[in-house]
Structure formats: C-alpha cells, structure tokens
Assembly symmetry: none
Homo-oligomer: 222 residues x 4
DNA sequence: TGATAAGCGAGACGGTACGTCCGGTCTTGAG
DNA sequence: CTCAAGACCGGACGTACCGTCTCGCTTATCA
C-alpha cells in the first residue's frame, strides 16, 4: 500500500494533484517548524486539508513521506567532472551545502537517521549516493595520477563530505561560505596530491588531465 | 519536576538507588536494541520493573533521561597534548570513535539531534565540547607555528571530527581502525602543515613545540 | 441518480436484468443475516458479483434499495371486507404478521425507522398504509353501528396493529398464532362494540352489516 | 473495557465528572438532531470537547453509550399499584408516553432495535421491563378477579403498550393526550373485565380490591 | 514521638496520533 | 448509456502510547 507508483495506471480514479502538492507542502512546512520527531501525519493531513488516509494511500510511512517530500526535486544530483579537480569538488560541496541549508532537509536527514534499523537501510542507501559520487570523482582523479595512490578514495570522500556534515549538525556556528569551501578543498588536496608542491592553488596543472568524458551525470540521491 | 537534584536530602523518603540504576540500565539496553525514536518510557519502566511516574520523578523528559543515562560516565573527555600533534590528534579521534561505537551512544546522539529546537539547544552544547577540545589543541599548534596561519582552526577541527561522524552515521561500511585514523591525520596535517614537506610521517619535528603545559584536561562533554 | 426508471430505453447499453435480480436477492439475504445497520452496499455488491456503482445507478441510497427490495412484492395489501368484522380484522392481522415474520422485512422496517428525518418521511408514508386500511375498515364498522360511536377509529386501529408491532419488536417471546390473534380481536371488539354483550364470540350479529361493497382492495403499502 | 463501573475504585485517577456530563449531553443533543444511525462517536467527542478515547473508556460501544445516556434518569420506573386498575394503567401509560415523547429517547429506541443481534439482546432486555411491569400489574388484577381468567396477561400488556408504540413510531399523527389514554384503557378493560358491565367508567368497584401491598416499586428499565 | 514530606507501586485519566475500514464518487476502457 | 474494474476522498473507527494524576502506603527527616 502507498505505492506512489508512477506507472500510467489506466483503471481507477486518478489522484487529486492538488492534494499531492498540499501534502508535500504541509510536510515541508511542518518539518521546518517542528522537526522530524514532532511531525505527525495527522498534522500534515490537517494542514493539507485532507485526511491521513489520503496520505497513507501515497506513502507507506512517515519516513517515506518525508523522503519523497524533501528529496523530490533532488533527483538531480550532479557529478561535476570538468577536469579541474579543485573546482569540481568545490562545486559538489556547494551543492551538498545548499541542500543541507534547507531546514526541512536538515530535519529530514536527522530524523531519518533516527529511524529503526529496518527503516534506516532504505534511506541510508539514498543518502549515501552523494558521497558515492564524490568517491567516484576522486577515484578518477587518482587513476589520472592527480592524487597519491596510497590514500583510500573513500577516506578522502569522508574528508570532503564529513566536515560539511559536522558543521551543519553542530548548529552552524561558522557560516559555510565559498571561502570556507575553498579552504576545505585546498587543505584536502594539498594533503593528498600526488606532486609535492606546497600550495595547491598556485601549481595546479589542469591541462594534465586525461579524462575522456567531461560530463554532468544526473543521479537520484540525497 | 524531575529535578534529579543532588542537593542534600530534605524531608521525605529518599529515592530508591536500585531504581536509579535499573532505570539507567534499562534505558541503555533499550536504546541499543531499538534506537531513540522507538524507545518509550513505558518500555523502560517495564524493564526496570517500575512505573513511568518513577522515571518522571527523576528526569523531566525522554531526552533528559537519555542524556543522563548515556553520558553519565563520559564526564571525562580528555584533551591530549603531549607535544606530538599527530599522535595527539590520533588519540582524540580514537576516543571519539570509541564513544560513537557504542550503539547506545550513537542512537542517543542521533535521537537528540532530532529533538525539537528548544530541547536541542541544551544537548548540542554538550555534544560540541569534543570538537571544542580539538579546536583548542589545533590553535595551540597554530600558535606554535606547526600549522599554516591562513587556515581556520575550527575548519581543521571539522576536518578531524567530521570524517568520523560521516563514517559512523553512514553505516560503518569502512571499519574505523588505526590505519584509517593514521591516514586521516596524515592527510590533514600534510595539507595544513606550515612547512612544505611532502609526507607528514617522515619529516615531523616534534621537538619544535613550545607548549608550556603538556597536560590531560578532563571536560564534561559528549 | 439511481432513478430506476422504467421509461422506455433511450440510447446506450441496456441494463443487465440478471444484475437487477442479483442485487435484490443479495440485499434480502444480507438483510436477513446481518440486519439493516450492518448491511453495507459493498457487501451487497460483492455477493451480487458486481460493484457498488451498479447499485447506485439503480437506487439512490441504501434506504431506497432496501425499500424496493423488501416491499417489491408487497404492493398487494389487502383490505378484507366480508362483513364479518371479527374475521376481517383477524385476517388483516394475519397478513401483517406474515410480513413482519420475514426477518428481512422486519430488519428493513426497523432500519428504515432509524434513518435520518428527511429519509424517514418517505418511508413512513408507506409503512402507514397498512394501518390506514385497518382504520378505514373500522370506520365503516362504526358507521354501520357495530362499534361504539365515542371511540376513535384511529385509536382502535392502533389497538389492532400496535400489539402486533409490540410483540414483533419485543423479540417474539410469545409466538403469534391464530389463538393469539383471536384473543386480540375479541378483547378489542368486546371493549368497543356498540352492544353491551359480555363475550364477543357468542353474540355477534354479522347480519347487521350495511356495507355495499364487500371487496378486496389492493394497496401499495408496508 | 469501558465498564463504567460504579465500584468504589480506590486506585487510579478519578474521572472528570464534567466530561461525564458533557459526553452525556452531547449524546442526547446529537441523538435529537441526527438520530441514531447518523450519530458518530467522533461527533459526540467533538461536541463534548474531548476525544473518542475518553468515551470508549466509559462505554464499550455506541449502543451502550446511547442506552446509558438516554435511560440514565429512567432508573426509576414505577409500577403503580393503588388498587384502582384503570388509574394505575393510565399512569403507567402516561409514564411510557412521557419517555417516548423525548426525541432522543425515541431515536435511541429505534436505533437500538436496529443493532446487530448480539447487541440487541442486551438492550431488548432492558426495554422490555416496562412491559414486564405492566404484565405484573395485570396479573395481580387477574388474581384479584378483576379480569377475565381466559385472557393472557402478556397479551393484555401488549394491548396497553402496543398502541403507544404504534402511534409513536408512526410519526405522532394523533397527539397522545389524557383523553387518548383514557379511551385506550377503557376499551381494553371493558373488553377484558371479569364483570359484564357495559361501560368501564361507571361500574368499577375499586373497593373490591384484595391487594395487600399498595406500593410504588422502582425498577431499572427502559 | 509524632508530624511532615517525599518516595513508592498500581492503575486510570485526558488526549494525540495511529493505521484501517468503508461509503459514496469518479475515471477508464470496453460493449 | 451501460458495464467491470478499480482507485480515490473523507468520515469514522477502535487502539496504543504519552505524560499526568490520585490513591493508599512506606520510609525517611524534622520538631
């Protein structure tokens, strides 16, 4: 139940698209106002001027509703691969930050982490894909000789995404701006780069890239 | 309500200390088994063979109970400051990891993050102190000239604590072992060190430290 | 909606007459098994192997369906007027009893009484006609001098139909047989007869009747 | 559950008496406005400014709620036994009529009749007690020789209570006033009295009674 | 020693939210 | 215009749990 299928069902009365929108909107609003734990489907229903039954018809659980509501437009994760590793990472971070800055998204992530283990599995998979993309980009850089071979790409990805998570969950004492992002990328690359140059910004060789397919993949993810 | 006071006993029957212990134990157990959201005070009461009223007499809310139960023994955070920056950071990371490896603590942290904003304030303050200690250590290193002056210590702290958080919350795909920690510290220091040496492990100069108080502070924290 | 029209077929596919019958049968059966309140159109549809839509096409509401189903063959109420007042009344009672003995009919009557006021109006009119016939018969007897002039015919009709209703609704502790009917009629007539004779059965004078039209009218009724 | 016990329970928080009253009042009001079938516990809860859970704690079902609400003050049925049979019956009828005139009570009776068979049993027993009292009074009269011995007292009781039921359920076309009641009693007694006198009102012998206990019993009943 | 006060188990309370059922409506696609 | 199939909306349902409260009792300190 609550399959929320996109299959082009022929039989049956179609769903009221205004309800779809109202439910999503109410969910986002309440998530922003109250957070995940204090979000009740009854409240969503009331604000959307419908009933819980209509919600359960669309989503099988609160976590599914929240996931779909918050990450609905985020089916467009992008892996930047222009060849300029530093710029690519900065861009990917900026995207992540943009997502996590939305209070609803932050509340959703925190809440979903708190779900029971069975529920968690499903969502963690999704929320991992952002890191997955970072990892892939880093591995390509490694293969291209831009990064030291003795450092695990997964660790590097945690070095990129972890600090963002840390600041956001910690209550945003330091604002995350472009300078912050630039510093982060610089330190990580400076520490992991294959060549021995002292400052990352002055001695990069963007022309040395060997990538054959500079592209922009879209991926469903957190 | 639920003041949990340590003030010297006034009139009235004193609390049963066996109940105190039973409630804490039940809370830890259930937190481990079910996680924060699925933890109900009714279940705690049942397992502790008492009633919810006895719990509310001690703790004003679920979040307070969990906080006290999980971080009761953790009033002993340690800031390592032996002069060997790399070793110190590794040790601090190891401590953090140790905490987060306990399922009850992990569940508690995640759960407390999800509390309503008013509740959150109180707890976030606590959970921030670990990072605070890291920041302080890094600032001392910066003052000693071990680190580049143009990098924010708070950012570096996020670079140390963030990846740990990231891996733990991400479901522990990669196990966090000493090698992982070593790599992490190496990359960060390599990227942020004042001198231009390529590999952190070979060219450190621990002798250059100027600290006057190599100590081990204990701090109430996460 | 649900006009159940007999108007000559216009355009379109004609109704399946087997469905008509199946719906009626299912209604009667379920009324017998479960009673009015527990009768759901969904259940009727299922048993008739069709859908609720097909039912709503025929009947505008549950009460209309039940009314049509139960009283479909009962458009044939009979007013006995043989001249023998006692026998006529006994026969009319017997007819009423026969109807009310059918569990479906009893359930229908009780259920229809419970409908909202707007719905009730329609049905009460119908269910009153049986008493109406009794009243008419009694008024003719009064005009013929068989009954005391100072007693209201409507009251007497209630004295005839009321006890039947009372016993049937009361759960049928006493079975209604011919002896019961005979006693009922006897007591009422004995109490309301114009002459002062003590026992109704011994001193009747059927010959005194002045009716001009001994007949058997058929009337749509309960 | 929903025992509504009167047992002097020691443990547990006592019920809010204002809620008790509000629930009863709301039930009566809604019963009057909408009737039994259209009465929902949700609506009762809303009007009483509480929730359905509070209602279920007191009453196990809608029928129990209605029964208790409507017949709460009616635990005081009275069997008149002054020795004057005619007056006694008139009084008992007047009481019945008074009850049935209340729209809520009428709606309740009709609705309860429509309940499923298992539910009905419980309520029918109650609603039968009024007739039970009438029957008892008539049997005493029979024993005292005031009534013919060959007529069943239960039938006579139906002759007394049936017409009232008939008129009330029929929609109250004729108003039930004292004259109506007097006529009813007169006809019945005239038809069932032991002596042969023509008019009941002129030849009664109230002094011939042999009752030893002229009393007024109170009985829980419909 | 007796009053005061807080603790205790037991258990019901008022209320929020839950997840489900069903009544009545609507749409599609075929006949 | 009818049919079946089937999904939809919204009202109501009955349940589970939360945090509170009252009870009768026990256990301590204070006067």
């Amino acid at each position: 139940m609550g399959e929320n299928t996109n299959e082009q069902t022929s039989a049956g009365r179609p769903r009221d698209p205004r309800l779809d929108a109202a439910i999503i909107d109410a969910t986002i609003d309440l998530l922003t106002e109250r957070g995940y734990n204090e979000l009740s489907l009854a409240a969503v229903a009331e604000r959307a001027e419908t009933t819980t039954a209509a919600i359960y018809r669309r989503y099988g659980s609160k976590s599914e509703l929240v996931t779909k509501a918050v990450f609905r437009t985020d089916g467009d994760d992008v892996v930047a691969d222009t060849g300029d590793l530093e710029a690519d990472l900065a861009m990917m971070i900026r995207w992540s930050v943009e997502k996590l800055q939305r209070p609803a998204a932050l509340a959703a992530i925190i809440g979903l982490l708190g779900e029971s283990k069975s529920e968690r599995k499903k969502n963690v998979v999704e929320s991992r894909s952002a890191t997955q993309l970072t990892t892939e980009r880093l591995e390509r850089a490694k293969a291209a000789g831009e990064l030291r071979g003795d450092v695990d790409a997964a660790l590097l990805a945690s070095l990129i995404d972890g600090p963002v998570l840390h600041v956001v969950l910690g209550g945003m004492t330091t604002p995350i701006d472009d300078a912050w992002i630039a510093q982060l990328v610089q330190v990580v690359l400076n520490g992991a780069r294959a060549d021995a140059t002292r400052t990352a910004s002055t001695t990069r060789h963007p022309k040395s890239r060997t990538h054959t397919t500079p592209k922009t993949r879209k991926v469903t993810s957190l």
